[in-house]
Symmetry: C2
Subunit: 498 residues, 2 copies
């Protein structure tokens, strides 16, 4: 029995010797073996703790986003199925050793979203076909020109085409859609033109490669679309919707926190901090949005999305939301500034600012509802109208600030309790003024977002609101009162125009 106890910084080994009932204290030996052993043990402990930490992270990710774990299982399944080509004699005889290409295709092509998988499949197939045809052509030409020139022609063609295709991957239009295709083009062309020199059955090689790629890609497409499909379009839709909600929460939270009305925010401090920082995800979402919109374009109709769903409109909405987030970033800092506005002024403005921020975030939340339900809202115009009213009220408050004698020299600052006659130095109203202007700016940006969402709703043919629908259907049921129906419609339109 060996016990280890840590005393006064040094290691001590205590051996309980049986049958003697005493324990001898071993003076720590600094022999190299022991040092090496301790070092190794330390390494193992660190390694194990790292591994367990890593596994913990992985587990929490899998719990948070089970889709990603399922994606792993899908890839495993696809690979198992493809490896059947090896295990089953009849299948193996059909495809032969080239079954390897099917395995490779599955590994390389299977992506998280359906759109990305389709994009890669199409790219792989097109690149292989083009390069295969070109390779065979050049191989034929090289073959005709004698044994001496053959390798030279092949070498030069590989050099030129590889250089051109590699360079083309830097051109934005190619990079966005055909980056992988260009890579596969280079790969296949090199294979065909180079191995053409050795392999006599070149056509057979090309044919096998194509058929195995076809097997791999079709397997990937089937599995990715049937088992828990993750649609890039749907992800983009959710991302934009979430961003709206995050900005709404951050905007409201930030203003409410500034005016110290903390009960409106989430009760849990940590949560409220998370809510306040929510807009930060939006700041850097451009790359993700663009990639998703690109992949979404490859996807067939699914769920509520048609084949020609206007994905580019999402990018516009996303860009406008990001602009709101920039404003909130500045707002968040100006509310944390050192210069505190006097309490009387804060009280006066809190009403207007909170009204504006809450009506702005209401608009954003309604936009999120529109996106979520994919239904046009008739409320939104009223809400925008309300937001604009709040903007005007805030502007009015700013104006009235100058009409009341509450601004003046800081030296004459008095606190008589009477709000209207308090003299406030200009420096102290600066935070309030800049906050107000930022809020007004955010409101104008949100209005632009509303327009962009409306545009999206029109192009994507979102359903009409059910309340409106039911009214319309009522009108259709009572065709004898067309004038009333028209009148109602006109009222609705006027409301929407407001």
């Amino acid at each position: 029995m060996v016990k280890e106890s840590k005393q006064s910084g040094g290691l001590e080994w205590r051996v309980n010797v049986p049958n003697e009932n005493t324990s001898k204290v071993l003076v720590p030996e600094s022999k190299p073996q022991i040092r090496v052993f301790n070092g190794l043990r330390g390494l193992i402990v660190v390694f194990v703790s790292r591994i367990s930490k890593f596994l913990g992270k992985a587990w929490s990710l899998a719990v948070r986003e089970p889709k990603k774990a399922i994606h792993g299982l899908k890839v495993g399944m696809a690979l198992s199925i493809v490896s059947l080509f090896y295990y089953m004699r009849p299948l193996y005889n059909g495809v032969g050793g080239n079954a390897m290409w099917a395995v490779m295709t599955v590994v390389v092509v299977f992506e998280y979203t359906v759109g990305a998988t389709l994009c890669k499949c199409v790219n792989r197939a097109t690149g292989t076909l083009l390069a295969g045809a070109l390779g065979l052509g050049i191989h034929w030409i090289a073959n005709q020109s004698g044994e001496k020139f053959e390798p030279i022609i092949l070498q030069v063609s590989v050099f030129l085409l590889a250089a051109a295709a590699t360079f083309s991957r830097f051109i934005p239009t190619i990079k966005a859609r055909f980056d992988y295709g260009a890579l596969i083009f280079i790969l296949t062309f090199s294979f065909v033109s180079v191995s053409g020199y050795r392999v006599d059955k070149l056509f057979e090689l090309a044919h096998h490669r194509l058929s195995t790629i076809a097997i791999g890609t079709s397997l990937c497409i089937i599995i990715t679309m049937i088992f828990c499909p993750v649609w890039a379009g749907n992800e983009l839709h959710c991302l934009i919707t979430n961003n709206m909600e995050k900005i709404a929460a951050s905007l409201n939270g930030c203003v409410v926190e500034y005016f110290g009305i903390s009960e409106n925010v989430n009760a849990n401090g940590e949560d409220s901090d998370k809510v306040l920082q929510g807009y930060k995800c939006v700041l850097n979402s451009k790359t993700a949005e663009e990639a998703m919109a690109n992949f979404a374009g490859w996807e067939p109709a699914h769920g509520n999305f048609n084949f020609r769903h206007p994905w580019n409109e999402y990018l516009k909405v996303g860009a406008l939301l990001r602009k709101c987030a920039y404003c909130i970033e500045t707002l968040n800092v100006s509310t944390n500034s050192d210069t505190e506005a006097p309490n009387t002024l804060k009280k006066l403005f809190s009403k207007y600012c909170i009204r504006l921020s809450s009506s702005s975030s209401d608009v954003l939340k309604e936009l999120a509802v529109i996106m979520n339900t994919m239904t046009k809202s008739i409320k939104i115009d009223l809400m925008v109208h309300e937001m604009n009213n709040a903007v005007q009220e805030l502007q009015g408050a700013l104006k009235s600030l100058s009409e009341q004698p509450i601004i003046g020299d800081s030296k004459h600052s008095t606190e008589e309790g009477d709000e209207s006659s308090t003299i406030v130095p200009l420096m102290e109203i600066v935070p309030i003024v800049s906050m107000s202007t930022l809020l007004i700016e955010v409101a104008s940006r949100i209005e632009k977002s509303v327009e962009a969402v409306n545009e999206l709703a029109n192009k994507a043919e979102f359903e009409e609101d059910s309340t409106k629908k039911s009214k319309q259907s009522q009108n259709q049921q009572n065709p004898k009162q067309p004038s009333q129906g028209n009148q109602e419609d006109t009222t609705m339109k006027t409301l929407q125009k407001v």
Copy 2:
């Protein structure tokens, strides 16, 4: 001679028949052949114009960034060299048909920057080794457990490991550094364990695969590092430096434009617009910066950068610069607002605002110089001091605004020409106030960037400024006057502390 003329919307064919000197007008035939011909011609014209447009784009890209064109040539060269393995009998005999793997490695691994190439090479080698070893181990176990269980064990292991490795690619730490390695792990493991069932010479396969990959990766590394190497670290360094310059130009340009002093800006209108919009590149540079910093970590020492150059500090500087850009985004909009400040006020504030913006952008430009020359600057502290002075002056101006009777009711607004007695409504000073607060905020963010750059300069051991150096060397030359030297040093330190 066939002429085609477009008249009144329809196509008309006119044939000049020789020897008759008359021309017959052919009535447009709407025969399907002609329509098909016209359609085809139209298609060809569109196709040719698109191709020429594309080539024009490619050409301008190549002229703008010749490095990218050179990268294409480098890939072509690497492929040509690798294909020599096929053409030369002795080389081919050594490696055999597996030379294909070398070609594939070159195509897949060769990236634009040295760091990205190294990262992929290491990932590919590690992934192949690990998966190869594991695959052989599992193959041995499966072999021992009888013919019946062999395919089952292999299938299950492929399924589990592929699922786990695919899922691991979603974990941020793996994704950032070993994404490609995980992919290669899956690929190799599937190959080894699946083809192990058929190919008897499994060890030979693994050995060949490793040796060809070694050939491919070493060739890539040599070519990418010797011929016009593009270092990710250097690119990151330049990106951050450029971003500083862009923000400096945008900040100054935006303020100067607002106050209508357009002669200071670039004379060319288009250019000045480009300068003003320069900050927009900075808004979305996060992804690029992170990728470059990651790749830069893989690179060996090069140029002025050591192996352990603090690339993460660049990310911090980049994040702070982005924060400046967010402010400028808001600033840019507030200067374009409808409410114009009255001229007298504008004139009064233009001095302070322009002084602050120009001193801020001077600080940024000096930071860019520090980065460019990789030399610590003693000027920077003075410049920050000056910027802070400008901030205080602007704050003073805001304060004095309330001390002078220039703010009051808009109804009493008079323009008597006398600056000090003009009464300005509060609403009209709002743009100026919010601009001033934003400028002050930008200045504080720039100060933080200065701190981050100083931290970077310390960690990366930038050289001391030559002026300081020469003074120090003077002190060393005159060791008899240590007190004077110390005094000077103290003055310097005090200056730096200011």
